[in-house]
Amino acid sequence: MLGVAAIRRPRTPSGWIVPGLLAACCVFLLVGSLSSSLFAQQTVSGLANGGIYASLGVALVLIYRATQVINFSQGALATFTTYVAWQLMSWGLGYWPAFVLTLGIAFVGGIAVELVAIRPVERRGNVLTVVIASIGVLILVEGAVGWIWGSEVKFMPSAFPARAIHVGGVAFSLQDLGTIGVSIAAVVVLWALFQFTKVGLAMRAAALRPEAARLVGVRVSWMLSLGWGLAAVLGAVAGMMAAASPSVLLQPSMMDGVLIYAFAAAVLGGLESAAGAVVGGLAIGALLNLLGSYVSWVTPQLLLPAAFVLMLVVLLVKPSGLFGRTQVRRV
Protein backbone atom coordinates (compact mmCIF):
# COMPACT_ATOMS: atom_id res chain seq x y z
CA MET A 1 0.00 0.00 0.00
CA LEU A 2 1.28 3.39 0.76
CA GLY A 3 4.63 3.43 2.39
CA VAL A 4 4.82 5.01 5.74
CA ALA A 5 7.63 7.48 5.75
CA ALA A 6 7.97 8.57 9.28
CA ILE A 7 10.94 10.31 10.69
CA ARG A 8 11.53 10.83 14.34
CA ARG A 9 13.99 13.64 14.75
CA PRO A 10 17.29 11.82 15.09
CA ARG A 11 19.09 12.05 18.40
CA THR A 12 21.85 14.50 17.63
CA PRO A 13 24.96 14.41 19.77
CA SER A 14 23.60 17.33 21.80
CA GLY A 15 20.39 15.42 22.28
CA TRP A 16 22.25 13.09 24.59
CA ILE A 17 23.19 15.88 26.96
CA VAL A 18 20.04 15.80 28.99
CA PRO A 19 19.73 12.03 29.44
CA GLY A 20 23.45 12.04 30.12
CA LEU A 21 23.07 14.70 32.79
CA LEU A 22 20.25 12.78 34.38
CA ALA A 23 22.23 9.58 34.39
CA ALA A 24 25.19 11.42 35.88
CA CYS A 25 22.90 12.80 38.57
CA CYS A 26 21.60 9.38 39.48
CA VAL A 27 25.09 7.96 39.62
CA PHE A 28 26.21 10.87 41.78
CA LEU A 29 23.34 10.37 44.20
CA LEU A 30 23.83 6.66 44.35
CA VAL A 31 27.55 6.77 44.89
CA GLY A 32 27.24 9.51 47.46
CA SER A 33 24.55 7.62 49.33
CA LEU A 34 26.60 4.49 49.41
CA SER A 35 29.67 6.23 50.74
CA SER A 36 28.13 8.50 53.36
CA SER A 37 25.11 7.87 55.52
CA LEU A 38 24.58 11.61 55.98
CA PHE A 39 24.52 11.96 52.23
CA ALA A 40 22.01 9.15 51.95
CA GLN A 41 19.74 10.67 54.58
CA GLN A 42 19.89 14.10 53.02
CA THR A 43 19.20 12.62 49.61
CA VAL A 44 16.15 10.80 50.88
CA SER A 45 14.74 13.77 52.74
CA GLY A 46 15.51 15.89 49.68
CA LEU A 47 13.59 13.40 47.57
CA ALA A 48 10.71 13.67 50.01
CA ASN A 49 10.59 17.42 49.45
CA GLY A 50 10.98 16.65 45.77
CA GLY A 51 7.92 14.43 45.87
CA ILE A 52 5.90 17.36 47.13
CA TYR A 53 7.26 19.64 44.41
CA ALA A 54 6.57 16.92 41.86
CA SER A 55 2.91 16.53 42.85
CA LEU A 56 2.24 20.24 42.75
CA GLY A 57 4.29 20.51 39.56
CA VAL A 58 2.20 17.87 37.83
CA ALA A 59 -0.91 19.76 38.90
CA LEU A 60 0.48 22.86 37.20
CA VAL A 61 1.33 20.90 34.08
CA LEU A 62 -2.16 19.41 33.97
CA ILE A 63 -3.79 22.79 33.81
CA TYR A 64 -1.19 24.35 31.55
CA ARG A 65 -1.42 21.54 29.01
CA ALA A 66 -5.15 21.88 28.72
CA THR A 67 -5.51 25.63 28.78
CA GLN A 68 -2.10 27.34 28.43
CA VAL A 69 -2.87 28.96 31.76
CA ILE A 70 -0.27 29.16 34.50
CA ASN A 71 -2.37 28.65 37.60
CA PHE A 72 -0.90 30.87 40.29
CA SER A 73 -3.50 29.76 42.79
CA GLN A 74 -2.47 26.11 42.77
CA GLY A 75 -0.49 26.47 45.98
CA ALA A 76 -3.17 28.44 47.78
CA LEU A 77 -5.78 25.83 46.85
CA ALA A 78 -3.47 23.17 48.22
CA THR A 79 -3.14 25.14 51.45
CA PHE A 80 -6.89 25.46 51.76
CA THR A 81 -7.50 21.76 51.32
CA THR A 82 -4.75 20.98 53.81
CA TYR A 83 -6.50 23.15 56.37
CA VAL A 84 -9.70 21.28 55.60
CA ALA A 85 -7.88 18.04 56.39
CA TRP A 86 -6.59 19.54 59.61
CA GLN A 87 -10.09 20.61 60.53
CA LEU A 88 -11.50 17.15 59.87
CA MET A 89 -8.81 15.61 62.02
CA SER A 90 -9.38 18.07 64.80
CA TRP A 91 -13.03 17.03 64.71
CA GLY A 92 -11.92 13.52 65.48
CA LEU A 93 -11.65 11.88 62.08
CA GLY A 94 -8.76 9.45 61.69
CA TYR A 95 -5.86 10.36 59.42
CA TRP A 96 -6.56 8.23 56.36
CA PRO A 97 -10.33 8.81 56.36
CA ALA A 98 -9.65 12.54 56.60
CA PHE A 99 -7.06 12.25 53.83
CA VAL A 100 -9.44 10.54 51.47
CA LEU A 101 -12.34 12.83 52.29
CA THR A 102 -10.10 15.82 51.71
CA LEU A 103 -9.17 14.51 48.28
CA GLY A 104 -12.84 14.34 47.43
CA ILE A 105 -13.42 17.84 48.71
CA ALA A 106 -10.41 19.08 46.78
CA PHE A 107 -11.79 17.51 43.61
CA VAL A 108 -15.12 19.24 43.99
CA GLY A 109 -13.42 22.45 45.06
CA GLY A 110 -11.15 22.51 42.02
CA ILE A 111 -14.10 22.06 39.71
CA ALA A 112 -15.98 24.80 41.57
CA VAL A 113 -13.10 27.26 41.22
CA GLU A 114 -12.92 26.57 37.51
CA LEU A 115 -16.63 27.05 37.03
CA VAL A 116 -16.98 30.16 39.16
CA ALA A 117 -13.75 32.07 38.75
CA ILE A 118 -12.05 30.86 35.62
CA ARG A 119 -14.77 29.97 33.14
CA PRO A 120 -16.43 33.43 33.15
CA VAL A 121 -13.07 35.09 32.66
CA GLU A 122 -12.00 32.73 29.92
CA ARG A 123 -15.14 33.40 28.02
CA ARG A 124 -14.42 37.11 27.82
CA GLY A 125 -10.70 37.50 27.88
CA ASN A 126 -7.59 35.70 26.83
CA VAL A 127 -4.97 33.63 28.56
CA LEU A 128 -3.44 36.56 30.37
CA THR A 129 -6.67 37.75 31.94
CA VAL A 130 -7.14 34.20 33.17
CA VAL A 131 -3.66 34.28 34.68
CA ILE A 132 -4.54 37.48 36.51
CA ALA A 133 -7.80 35.94 37.60
CA SER A 134 -5.81 33.03 39.01
CA ILE A 135 -3.80 35.56 40.98
CA GLY A 136 -7.08 36.93 42.23
CA VAL A 137 -8.02 33.43 43.34
CA LEU A 138 -4.63 33.14 45.05
CA ILE A 139 -5.27 36.29 47.06
CA LEU A 140 -8.82 35.24 47.81
CA VAL A 141 -8.08 31.71 48.92
CA GLU A 142 -5.06 32.57 51.03
CA GLY A 143 -7.09 35.32 52.61
CA ALA A 144 -9.93 32.91 53.22
CA VAL A 145 -7.60 30.53 55.03
CA GLY A 146 -6.46 33.33 57.31
CA TRP A 147 -10.02 34.48 57.83
CA ILE A 148 -11.47 31.10 58.66
CA TRP A 149 -8.66 29.58 60.62
CA GLY A 150 -6.47 32.50 61.66
CA SER A 151 -2.82 32.91 60.83
CA GLU A 152 -1.21 31.29 63.84
CA VAL A 153 0.81 28.25 63.05
CA LYS A 154 -0.98 24.97 63.59
CA PHE A 155 0.24 21.46 64.04
CA MET A 156 -0.58 18.94 61.34
CA PRO A 157 -0.46 15.28 62.28
CA SER A 158 1.28 12.93 59.94
CA ALA A 159 0.24 9.60 58.53
CA PHE A 160 3.54 8.11 59.36
CA PRO A 161 4.87 7.59 62.84
CA ALA A 162 7.95 9.61 63.64
CA ARG A 163 10.10 6.55 63.58
CA ALA A 164 13.19 5.74 61.67
CA ILE A 165 13.74 2.59 59.73
CA HIS A 166 17.13 1.18 59.08
CA VAL A 167 18.24 0.24 55.61
CA GLY A 168 21.77 -0.95 55.17
CA GLY A 169 22.73 0.48 58.52
CA VAL A 170 21.45 3.97 57.75
CA ALA A 171 18.50 5.44 59.60
CA PHE A 172 15.85 6.93 57.31
CA SER A 173 12.85 8.86 58.48
CA LEU A 174 9.64 6.94 57.87
CA GLN A 175 8.00 10.28 57.23
CA ASP A 176 10.34 10.96 54.31
CA LEU A 177 9.90 7.53 52.78
CA GLY A 178 6.16 7.74 53.22
CA THR A 179 6.04 11.12 51.52
CA ILE A 180 7.99 9.82 48.56
CA GLY A 181 5.70 6.84 48.35
CA VAL A 182 2.46 8.78 48.55
CA SER A 183 3.57 11.43 46.06
CA ILE A 184 4.70 8.89 43.51
CA ALA A 185 1.57 6.83 44.03
CA ALA A 186 -0.63 9.86 43.44
CA VAL A 187 1.13 10.72 40.21
CA VAL A 188 1.08 7.12 39.01
CA VAL A 189 -2.63 6.75 39.73
CA LEU A 190 -3.29 9.91 37.77
CA TRP A 191 -1.18 8.65 34.90
CA ALA A 192 -3.10 5.41 34.85
CA LEU A 193 -6.32 7.34 34.78
CA PHE A 194 -5.21 9.23 31.73
CA GLN A 195 -3.77 6.25 29.90
CA PHE A 196 -6.34 3.58 30.49
CA THR A 197 -9.75 5.09 31.06
CA LYS A 198 -12.27 6.55 28.65
CA VAL A 199 -12.44 9.77 30.62
CA GLY A 200 -8.68 10.03 30.59
CA LEU A 201 -8.58 9.63 26.83
CA ALA A 202 -11.30 12.23 26.42
CA MET A 203 -9.37 14.63 28.64
CA ARG A 204 -6.18 14.11 26.68
CA ALA A 205 -8.02 14.66 23.42
CA ALA A 206 -9.65 17.81 24.77
CA ALA A 207 -6.27 19.16 25.80
CA LEU A 208 -4.54 18.28 22.53
CA ARG A 209 -7.12 19.38 20.01
CA PRO A 210 -10.27 20.82 21.51
CA GLU A 211 -11.99 21.42 18.18
CA ALA A 212 -11.39 17.91 16.92
CA ALA A 213 -12.45 16.52 20.30
CA ARG A 214 -15.76 18.36 20.07
CA LEU A 215 -16.40 16.74 16.73
CA VAL A 216 -16.39 13.31 18.33
CA GLY A 217 -18.74 14.44 21.03
CA VAL A 218 -16.30 15.20 23.86
CA ARG A 219 -17.64 17.95 26.09
CA VAL A 220 -14.43 19.93 26.17
CA SER A 221 -15.44 22.40 28.84
CA TRP A 222 -16.38 19.59 31.25
CA MET A 223 -12.99 18.06 30.61
CA LEU A 224 -11.37 21.32 31.58
CA SER A 225 -13.30 21.42 34.83
CA LEU A 226 -12.29 17.84 35.49
CA GLY A 227 -8.69 18.82 34.87
CA TRP A 228 -8.93 21.52 37.51
CA GLY A 229 -10.51 19.05 39.89
CA LEU A 230 -7.73 16.53 39.42
CA ALA A 231 -5.09 19.22 39.72
CA ALA A 232 -6.64 20.27 43.02
CA VAL A 233 -6.47 16.66 44.22
CA LEU A 234 -2.76 16.52 43.46
CA GLY A 235 -2.34 19.84 45.20
CA ALA A 236 -4.11 18.47 48.26
CA VAL A 237 -1.71 15.53 48.37
CA ALA A 238 1.23 17.91 48.08
CA GLY A 239 -0.17 20.16 50.79
CA MET A 240 -0.89 17.40 53.27
CA MET A 241 2.54 15.90 52.81
CA ALA A 242 4.15 19.31 53.10
CA ALA A 243 2.34 20.25 56.29
CA ALA A 244 3.37 17.02 57.92
CA SER A 245 7.02 17.54 57.12
CA PRO A 246 9.22 19.19 59.72
CA SER A 247 10.45 21.97 57.48
CA VAL A 248 7.04 23.39 56.60
CA LEU A 249 4.62 24.88 59.08
CA LEU A 250 0.85 24.89 58.66
CA GLN A 251 0.12 28.54 58.04
CA PRO A 252 -1.69 30.46 55.31
CA SER A 253 1.43 31.25 53.32
CA MET A 254 2.57 27.63 53.58
CA MET A 255 2.71 26.84 49.90
CA ASP A 256 4.04 30.14 48.53
CA GLY A 257 7.61 28.93 48.42
CA VAL A 258 6.62 25.39 47.45
CA LEU A 259 4.78 26.87 44.48
CA ILE A 260 8.02 28.35 43.18
CA TYR A 261 9.80 25.00 43.48
CA ALA A 262 6.85 23.37 41.76
CA PHE A 263 7.05 25.93 38.96
CA ALA A 264 10.74 25.22 38.62
CA ALA A 265 9.97 21.49 38.43
CA ALA A 266 7.26 22.03 35.84
CA VAL A 267 9.53 24.29 33.81
CA LEU A 268 12.19 21.60 33.79
CA GLY A 269 9.60 19.45 32.11
CA GLY A 270 8.76 22.20 29.67
CA LEU A 271 5.43 22.90 31.35
CA GLU A 272 3.86 20.24 29.16
CA SER A 273 5.38 17.02 30.38
CA ALA A 274 4.16 15.50 33.61
CA ALA A 275 7.03 13.03 33.63
CA GLY A 276 9.40 15.94 33.29
CA ALA A 277 7.80 17.67 36.24
CA VAL A 278 8.19 14.54 38.36
CA VAL A 279 11.83 14.06 37.50
CA GLY A 280 12.41 17.78 37.81
CA GLY A 281 10.73 17.95 41.19
CA LEU A 282 12.66 15.04 42.63
CA ALA A 283 15.91 16.38 41.24
CA ILE A 284 15.33 19.86 42.61
CA GLY A 285 14.36 18.51 45.98
CA ALA A 286 17.36 16.22 46.31
CA LEU A 287 19.93 18.60 44.90
CA LEU A 288 18.80 21.65 46.85
CA ASN A 289 18.80 19.70 50.07
CA LEU A 290 22.30 18.43 49.43
CA LEU A 291 23.41 21.90 48.45
CA GLY A 292 22.07 23.24 51.69
CA SER A 293 23.79 20.59 53.83
CA TYR A 294 27.15 20.50 52.18
CA VAL A 295 27.88 23.97 50.89
CA SER A 296 28.40 26.26 53.83
CA TRP A 297 27.43 29.58 52.31
CA VAL A 298 24.13 28.23 51.06
CA THR A 299 21.72 29.25 53.80
CA PRO A 300 18.07 28.21 53.85
CA GLN A 301 17.13 31.66 52.55
CA LEU A 302 19.22 31.18 49.44
CA LEU A 303 17.42 28.03 48.35
CA LEU A 304 14.44 29.81 46.87
CA PRO A 305 16.58 32.23 44.85
CA ALA A 306 18.61 29.23 43.73
CA ALA A 307 15.50 27.52 42.40
CA PHE A 308 14.54 30.77 40.74
CA VAL A 309 17.90 31.00 39.00
CA LEU A 310 17.55 27.42 37.84
CA MET A 311 14.11 28.14 36.44
CA LEU A 312 15.40 31.27 34.72
CA VAL A 313 18.30 29.42 33.15
CA VAL A 314 16.06 26.67 31.80
CA LEU A 315 13.58 29.18 30.41
CA LEU A 316 16.34 31.14 28.72
CA VAL A 317 18.34 28.24 27.38
CA LYS A 318 15.84 25.49 26.65
CA PRO A 319 12.29 26.69 27.11
CA SER A 320 10.80 23.47 25.91
CA GLY A 321 12.24 21.99 29.05
CA LEU A 322 14.90 19.40 29.59
CA PHE A 323 12.49 16.79 28.36
CA GLY A 324 11.11 18.63 25.34
CA ARG A 325 8.89 16.40 23.27
CA THR A 326 10.39 14.48 20.41
CA GLN A 327 8.83 15.78 17.25
CA VAL A 328 7.22 13.42 14.83
CA ARG A 329 7.62 14.41 11.24
CA ARG A 330 6.38 12.93 8.05
CA VAL A 331 8.42 12.99 4.91
Binding site: L201, R204, V216, G217, R219, V220, R330
Partner: protein
Protein backbone atom coordinates in the same frame (compact mmCIF):
# COMPACT_ATOMS: atom_id res chain seq x y z
CA UNK B 1 -40.56 11.13 5.74
CA UNK B 2 -38.55 14.27 6.32
CA UNK B 3 -35.11 14.36 4.75
CA UNK B 4 -32.30 13.34 7.06
CA UNK B 5 -30.76 16.76 6.74
CA UNK B 6 -32.45 19.99 5.76
CA UNK B 7 -30.94 23.45 5.63
CA UNK B 8 -33.23 26.42 5.23
CA UNK B 9 -31.78 29.86 4.58
CA UNK B 10 -28.71 29.15 6.62
CA UNK B 11 -26.37 32.08 7.17
CA UNK B 12 -22.97 32.10 8.70
CA UNK B 13 -20.25 34.62 9.28
CA UNK B 14 -16.62 34.74 10.38
CA UNK B 15 -16.44 37.93 12.37
CA UNK B 16 -17.52 40.67 10.00
CA UNK B 17 -17.22 38.45 6.96
CA UNK B 18 -20.43 36.84 5.73
CA UNK B 19 -19.68 33.40 4.33
CA UNK B 20 -23.16 31.98 3.80
CA UNK B 21 -26.02 34.12 2.53
CA UNK B 22 -28.92 31.77 2.82
CA UNK B 23 -28.20 28.18 1.91
CA UNK B 24 -31.13 25.86 1.34
CA UNK B 25 -30.60 22.21 0.60
CA UNK B 26 -31.70 18.70 1.56
CA UNK B 27 -30.11 15.33 1.97
CA UNK B 28 -32.30 12.23 1.97
CA UNK B 29 -31.46 9.22 4.03
CA UNK B 30 -29.13 6.84 2.23
CA UNK B 31 -27.93 9.37 -0.31
CA UNK B 32 -24.54 10.68 -1.14
CA UNK B 33 -24.82 14.39 -1.88
CA UNK B 34 -21.90 16.42 -3.13
CA UNK B 35 -21.36 20.11 -2.49
CA UNK B 36 -19.40 21.67 -5.30
CA UNK B 37 -18.20 25.12 -6.09
CA UNK B 38 -15.17 27.33 -6.33
CA UNK B 39 -12.87 28.25 -3.48
CA UNK B 40 -14.57 30.53 -1.03
CA UNK B 41 -18.03 29.57 -2.19
CA UNK B 42 -18.94 28.43 1.29
CA UNK B 43 -18.74 24.67 1.01
CA UNK B 44 -16.68 24.09 4.13
CA UNK B 45 -18.69 26.67 6.01
CA UNK B 46 -21.88 24.81 5.14
CA UNK B 47 -20.54 21.63 6.73
CA UNK B 48 -19.42 23.63 9.73
CA UNK B 49 -22.87 25.13 10.02
CA UNK B 50 -24.35 21.64 10.15
CA UNK B 51 -21.95 20.29 12.74
CA UNK B 52 -22.25 23.42 14.83
CA UNK B 53 -18.63 24.40 14.53
CA UNK B 54 -19.50 27.86 13.29
CA UNK B 55 -22.20 30.16 14.54
CA UNK B 56 -25.12 30.29 12.16
CA UNK B 57 -28.53 31.68 11.50
CA UNK B 58 -31.39 30.00 9.71
CA UNK B 59 -32.76 26.49 10.23
CA UNK B 60 -30.93 23.21 10.28
CA UNK B 61 -33.05 20.11 10.76
CA UNK B 62 -31.88 16.61 11.43
CA UNK B 63 -34.59 14.10 10.51
CA UNK B 64 -37.17 16.79 11.03
CA UNK B 65 -35.80 17.86 14.42
CA UNK B 66 -34.49 21.39 14.39
CA UNK B 67 -30.98 21.85 15.73
CA UNK B 68 -30.95 24.86 17.99
CA UNK B 69 -27.53 26.57 17.96
CA UNK B 70 -26.10 23.42 19.50
CA UNK B 71 -22.39 23.12 19.87
CA UNK B 72 -20.46 20.49 17.94
CA UNK B 73 -20.45 18.13 20.91
CA UNK B 74 -24.20 17.92 20.99
CA UNK B 75 -24.54 17.59 17.25
CA UNK B 76 -21.97 14.81 17.23
CA UNK B 77 -23.94 12.99 19.89
CA UNK B 78 -27.01 13.22 17.71
CA UNK B 79 -25.33 11.06 15.12
CA UNK B 80 -23.48 13.49 12.91
CA UNK B 81 -19.86 12.66 12.19
CA UNK B 82 -17.80 15.46 10.69
CA UNK B 83 -14.49 14.68 9.07
CA UNK B 84 -13.10 18.18 8.76
CA UNK B 85 -10.66 19.75 6.39
CA UNK B 86 -7.28 18.66 7.67
CA UNK B 87 -8.79 15.43 8.90
CA UNK B 88 -9.00 16.21 12.60
CA UNK B 89 -6.96 13.21 13.62
CA UNK B 90 -5.07 13.39 16.86
CA UNK B 91 -1.51 13.06 15.61
CA UNK B 92 -0.10 12.71 19.09
CA UNK B 93 -2.31 9.74 19.93
CA UNK B 94 -2.10 6.22 18.57
CA UNK B 95 -4.26 4.80 15.83
CA UNK B 96 -6.12 2.72 18.39
CA UNK B 97 -6.75 5.74 20.61
CA UNK B 98 -8.06 7.69 17.65
CA UNK B 99 -10.51 4.93 16.91
CA UNK B 100 -11.55 4.67 20.56
CA UNK B 101 -12.25 8.38 20.52
CA UNK B 102 -14.77 7.85 17.79
CA UNK B 103 -16.84 5.76 20.15
CA UNK B 104 -16.07 7.78 23.27
CA UNK B 105 -19.63 8.88 23.84
CA UNK B 106 -21.08 5.40 23.75
CA UNK B 107 -21.23 2.76 26.41
CA UNK B 108 -20.59 -0.89 25.94
CA UNK B 109 -17.96 -2.84 24.15
CA UNK B 110 -16.33 -1.75 20.95
CA UNK B 111 -15.64 -5.17 19.43
CA UNK B 112 -18.50 -5.09 16.97
CA UNK B 113 -17.72 -1.61 15.80
CA UNK B 114 -14.07 -2.37 15.52
CA UNK B 115 -14.69 -5.42 13.40
CA UNK B 116 -16.88 -3.42 11.05
CA UNK B 117 -14.30 -0.71 10.71
CA UNK B 118 -11.43 -3.12 10.21
CA UNK B 119 -13.51 -4.71 7.51
CA UNK B 120 -13.14 -1.52 5.53
CA UNK B 121 -9.57 -0.76 6.61
CA UNK B 122 -7.91 -4.07 7.38
CA UNK B 123 -4.46 -2.54 7.37
CA UNK B 124 -5.29 -0.55 10.50
CA UNK B 125 -5.13 -3.70 12.56
CA UNK B 126 -1.39 -4.00 12.44
CA UNK B 127 -0.86 -0.34 13.18
CA UNK B 128 -2.80 -0.02 16.40
CA UNK B 129 0.02 1.38 18.45
CA UNK B 130 1.47 3.61 15.81
CA UNK B 131 1.35 7.30 16.45
CA UNK B 132 -1.26 8.74 14.12
CA UNK B 133 0.98 11.58 13.04
CA UNK B 134 3.43 9.15 11.52
CA UNK B 135 0.89 7.83 9.06
CA UNK B 136 0.97 9.08 5.49
CA UNK B 137 -1.60 11.61 4.36
CA UNK B 138 -3.79 9.03 2.71
CA UNK B 139 -3.64 6.75 5.72
CA UNK B 140 -4.56 9.61 8.03
CA UNK B 141 -7.53 10.40 5.84
CA UNK B 142 -8.66 6.83 6.08
CA UNK B 143 -8.10 6.83 9.82
CA UNK B 144 -10.30 9.90 10.00
CA UNK B 145 -13.02 8.06 8.07
CA UNK B 146 -12.59 5.01 10.25
CA UNK B 147 -12.95 7.11 13.36
CA UNK B 148 -16.07 8.70 11.97
CA UNK B 149 -17.47 5.25 11.34
CA UNK B 150 -16.85 4.31 14.97
CA UNK B 151 -19.34 7.01 15.82
CA UNK B 152 -22.02 4.95 14.03
CA UNK B 153 -23.23 8.11 12.39
CA UNK B 154 -26.55 8.64 10.68
CA UNK B 155 -24.96 11.44 8.70
CA UNK B 156 -21.38 11.65 7.59
CA UNK B 157 -19.93 15.02 6.65
CA UNK B 158 -16.69 14.78 4.72
CA UNK B 159 -14.67 17.89 3.86
CA UNK B 160 -12.17 17.82 1.03
CA UNK B 161 -10.98 14.24 1.47
CA UNK B 162 -8.75 14.41 -1.56
CA UNK B 163 -6.75 17.41 -0.42
CA UNK B 164 -3.06 16.84 -0.84
CA UNK B 165 -3.34 13.21 -1.79
CA UNK B 166 -2.05 11.29 -4.77
CA UNK B 167 -4.62 10.22 -7.42
CA UNK B 168 -4.45 6.54 -6.57
CA UNK B 169 -5.16 7.27 -2.93
CA UNK B 170 -7.97 9.61 -3.81
CA UNK B 171 -9.60 6.95 -5.93
CA UNK B 172 -9.32 4.51 -3.04
CA UNK B 173 -10.92 6.93 -0.61
CA UNK B 174 -13.86 7.62 -2.85
CA UNK B 175 -14.32 3.93 -3.39
CA UNK B 176 -14.51 3.47 0.37
CA UNK B 177 -17.00 6.28 0.73
CA UNK B 178 -19.24 4.64 -1.82
CA UNK B 179 -18.84 1.29 -0.11
CA UNK B 180 -19.76 2.85 3.23
CA UNK B 181 -22.88 4.20 1.68
CA UNK B 182 -23.83 0.97 -0.08
CA UNK B 183 -22.92 -1.52 2.65
CA UNK B 184 -23.83 0.47 5.75
CA UNK B 185 -26.40 2.82 4.34
CA UNK B 186 -24.54 5.81 5.74
CA UNK B 187 -25.82 9.11 4.41
CA UNK B 188 -23.00 11.30 3.19
CA UNK B 189 -22.70 15.01 2.54
CA UNK B 190 -19.47 15.51 0.72
CA UNK B 191 -17.51 18.66 -0.01
CA UNK B 192 -14.98 18.32 -2.70
CA UNK B 193 -13.09 20.58 -5.08
CA UNK B 194 -12.53 17.74 -7.48
CA UNK B 195 -15.87 17.61 -9.24
CA UNK B 196 -15.13 14.57 -11.32
CA UNK B 197 -14.62 12.25 -8.39
CA UNK B 198 -17.56 13.60 -6.47
CA UNK B 199 -19.95 13.19 -9.34
CA UNK B 200 -18.75 9.64 -9.78
CA UNK B 201 -19.92 8.60 -6.31
CA UNK B 202 -22.67 11.07 -5.49
CA UNK B 203 -26.35 10.67 -6.28
CA UNK B 204 -27.05 14.36 -6.26
CA UNK B 205 -25.01 17.50 -6.17
CA UNK B 206 -25.47 21.14 -5.26
CA UNK B 207 -23.30 23.88 -6.65
CA UNK B 208 -22.54 26.73 -4.30
CA UNK B 209 -21.65 30.21 -5.45
CA UNK B 210 -20.66 33.01 -3.04
CA UNK B 211 -22.53 31.57 -0.11
CA UNK B 212 -25.71 30.52 -1.91
CA UNK B 213 -26.92 27.44 -3.70
CA UNK B 214 -26.72 28.17 -7.42
CA UNK B 215 -28.55 25.00 -8.27
CA UNK B 216 -28.86 21.34 -7.41
CA UNK B 217 -29.55 18.31 -9.54
CA UNK B 218 -29.01 14.58 -9.78
CA UNK B 219 -25.48 13.89 -10.91
CA UNK B 220 -26.37 12.25 -14.21
CA UNK B 221 -28.11 15.43 -15.23
CA UNK B 222 -25.14 17.52 -14.23
CA UNK B 223 -22.70 15.28 -15.98
CA UNK B 224 -24.77 15.40 -19.15
CA UNK B 225 -25.20 19.17 -19.19
CA UNK B 226 -22.08 20.37 -20.92
CA UNK B 227 -22.50 24.10 -20.35
CA UNK B 228 -23.04 23.62 -16.63
CA UNK B 229 -20.11 21.29 -16.47
CA UNK B 230 -17.85 23.75 -18.18
CA UNK B 231 -18.87 26.87 -16.35
CA UNK B 232 -19.36 25.50 -12.84
CA UNK B 233 -17.38 22.33 -12.67
CA UNK B 234 -14.47 23.19 -14.84
CA UNK B 235 -14.45 20.30 -17.24
Amino acid sequence: MPPLLALRDVEARYGPLRALHGVTLEVEEGEIVALLGANGAGKTTTLRAVSGTVRRGGRVELAGRPLAREGPETVARLGVAHVPEGRGTFSELTVWENLRLGAITRRGRLDGDLRRVLGFFPWLDGRRNQQAGTLSGGEQQMLALARAMMQRPRLLLVDEPSLGLAPLVVAEIFRIIRELNEREGTTVLLVEQNARHSLAVAHRAYVLETGRVAFGAPTEELARNESIRKSYLGY
